[in-house]
Symmetry: C2
Subunit: 477 residues, 2 copies
């Protein structure tokens, strides 16, 4: 399997671990099969009773609904999905020797790079799968929302590949301020609507109350869900949070495991940036298997992250949207209009409006239920980092390694650097693996603002978070 023979003593050199095409995983890893604790079911937003597959049928094709609730250990990747993955997979894993040198650290730093996909991020891993299953079940059109545009462009690409129409509700302020992402979606043939829009009841209600509303991800989700629910030929597609989305992303971690083996080691620390959770879960879940198995064998439902089997797993979120580190573990709506399913998750409240940081992909009030449960049960750690510190880390990384990271990915870089510097201070030499989820070629406006000294740090005061949390739905146990 080792196609790259590099002398590990060649300090400062690029080291890339390349898989063969036949090493692309042929099945996704389903972490649900390994959980030593039960998951709280999602609820119907009207009745607040557990959702059944029939409740989800207007929104998703049956195969994805089945994946959402599956407890099978693995789920085969269909041939057509693998064919499309081959456009950009397997993705490379690098040892960041130049960064290590710049830090003077005793740690070994590895990163798994998803930025070579045609849309520049990991989002294609699930958009391709979702478009495929929808096409197979006769769906004609997909509706979705997008904030900064990363997910919208991934679904637009996959829809073009499988011959589906694609309607994207794009948060209005991004639609106006980031015309380039819109142009990318349109180049793929997608129909892009600024949200809130007059196309849906949810949109019209917001516009009636607030004609100048800049929109939000929560509102756009409401519109896309309503669009799908009210059109027979249309389904809804989500780019994060849901179990089946996290499942599709596990190709990242499964490849990374093979590549770390090529490097001749196991990571001591695995780090991913965290918004909804799909990139983080995709990298981390396969590495959680031993800790979960140990928990199951011992009849324990908790991991006590620090002392458990396997690597430390760290989710890194923005200090400006700290759902894991400052939110509560509670049932909450996934959207603003309260029409999307209700999930048990870490949340800042569905009315919470995160500060306008440039890592748009991490600005979501909630957190994937699966990741939330793992965090609640102590199998993973979380930390929040501030915006300026992430751009500082990104700039250091760019100059050392040559790759300009997406602002989202920069959160993982920040934490990886911090762990490496801690190692330097204590004289330890851990192997650190982090996920570089995408390139920053679409985010140069943010880098420009950073270079000009125009970026700010922001942490929401506690009373603001408390106000949003007060709107959590009441759920009887």
């Amino acid at each position: 399997m080792i196609v790259s023979a590099v002398n590990p003593s060649d300090d400062g050199r690029t080291v890339k671990f390349l898989l063969k095409e036949s090493d692309i995983p042929t099945a996704w890893y389903n972490i649900a099969s390994d959980l030593p604790f039960p998951l709280d079911p999602p609820l119907n937003p009207q009745t607040m009773q557990p959702l059944g597959p029939a409740d989800l049928a207007p929104l998703f094709p049956m195969e994805l609904i089945m994946q959402e609730v599956s407890t099978a250990p693995v789920i085969d990747i269909p041939g057509e999905v693998l064919d499309a993955y081959r456009l950009y997979r397997p993705s490379p894993l690098f040892r960041a020797r130049r960064l290590e040198k710049a830090l003077g650290t005793t740690a070994r730093i590895y990163y798994k790079y998803e930025g070579m996909s045609p849309v520049g991020s990991h989002k294609a891993n699930t958009s391709i799968a979702q478009a495929y299953y929808n096409k197979r079940e006769g769906v004609r059109r997909l509706a979705t929302e997008t904030g900064a545009g990363q997910w919208g462009s991934a679904l637009a690409m996959a829809s073009a590949m499988f011959g589906l129409e694609c309607s994207v509700y794009m948060v209005k302020v991004s639609y106006e301020q980031k015309p380039y992402r819109k142009a990318l979606m349109q180049a793929y043939g997608a129909d892009v609507t600024p949200s809130p829009s007059p196309k849906t009841n949810s949109g019209r209600a917001i516009l009636a109350k607030s004609p100048q509303s800049p929109g939000s991800l929560g509102i756009a989700i409401s519109e896309a869900v309503e669009d799908a629910a009210t059109h027979d030929d249309t389904k809804y597609s989500l780019g994060s949070v849901l179990n089946h989305v996290l499942l599709h992303q596990t190709v990242i971690g499964l490849e990374a495991q093979q590549q770390m083996a090529m490097a001749g080691e196991q990571p001591d620390v695995v780090i991913g940036c965290f918004g909804g959770g799909s990139n983080f879960a995709g990298l981390a879940f396969p590495f959680l298997k031993p800790a979960l198995a140990a928990g199951k064998a011992a009849g324990r439902s908790t991991g006590s992250a620090a002392a458990s089997v396997g690597p430390r797993i760290i989710a890194v979120e923005p200090a400006a949207c700290p759902s894991l580190t400052r939110g509560v573990y509670s049932y909450d709506f996934g959207d603003t209009a309260c029409i999307a399913p209700v999930a048990k998750m870490y949340t800042l409240g569905h009315d919470f409006v995160p500060a306008g940081i440039h890592a748009g992909g991490l600005r979501y009030h909630g957190a994937a239920p699966m990741v939330s449960a793992l965090y609640h049960h102590g199998f993973i750690e979380a930390r929040a980092v501030k915006q300026l510190a992430t751009f500082e880390a990104a700039t250091l990384f760019t100059r050392a390694e040559g790759i300009l990271p997406a602002p989202e990915s920069a959160h993982a870089i920040r934490a990886a650097i911090d762990v490496a510097l801690e190692a330097k201070a204590t004289g330890s030499s851990p192997a650190i693996l982090f996920g570089l989820s995408g390139h920053g070629h679409f985010d140069l406006g943010a880098y420009q603002a950073y270079a000009a000294g125009k970026l700010e740090d922001y942490e929401h005061p506690q009373d603001e978070i408390d106000r949003a949390l007060a709107a959590l739905p009441k759920v009887s146990d």
Copy 2:
């Protein structure tokens, strides 16, 4: 060598030909060794006498000067350059099955994709080599020019990797209209100056005459050359045109040859977009070897492209900057201020100002002397395509293959599609190979304008070209 076993009868599927890291070429191909005709030497711009290595020493490190005039068949790639290449090489070669299907063509279409480099284009292949040789010879700073920013960002990245300072003179209109490319260069630590600038005599002369000058590539070259010539610790670096730059790009064609062999065939047609010539030459030169050898063996200096040995080789230039198809083969200055070396090349005249098309990387009045000579002697073909037709081709390609091409690369796509459609009309089934030199993630403004119907075609009237050609220098034979 074959790591991707794909059934060629699987119509409509992605087919990627992946090399192993050990298949990255370890030497560049030097076409100078195979030419069956003599090359006209470059001239000193003051004396109009042939240039010697000493004339070039203020501008380039000696190793690059030696490469410029070398007639060795191959030139070894230094280990440190190979190490940096491993960041993104080997690059993939794809069979465009989805595009073939969309066209209903009997042709087989392959493309070599250079967009996975950290700067999104092939330019890194030479920026890394140039930064390395400069560093090795003790240079502290590099000066260069850039138009749209593709070359400037590639040199900025390479300079950061090898610890050099990098000063980029960026055409003022691009500096103001394309702040994102500037931000990328600055993220790599480069110093970016709008040109014309008050930093140089050339810049001051232009500003005195025309304070609002929007700048041009020719002016920016003058400034960068002057900067290097007047600072002992600084050398000049050029992203195209020169022999050593074309040499470094041959890794593209050398890899593509291995990959076409994996696909089990030889291309019948090789197509590259053409501006200065580096991307075109990088892909095409290795494929010219048999035709040149046949010419040499037969004592012929001409190729008569259509009937020669090996594939048809087609350079595709913009109709708005048609140096090969409407220029003349003559000695001309490489820059506007007439301080850069004078080269025998196809040119529209150093005063020619091409229309403002979005393929900024192809807007150069001249053409690489090596490519010019091959065209003059009939070893390659050239065609010009209009802007709207290139964006139409790019959009078709994007929706079929998933990758959004750079506007420059779209010229090659347009020609590949045209050749494929000609094949459909005649019932032939050629194997077409084209170069996809970069992704279009930096060029979404152009796609936006295209989608909005705001792009135009432009062809310069003959009298405009004649006026520019009247300024060609007089050279006594």
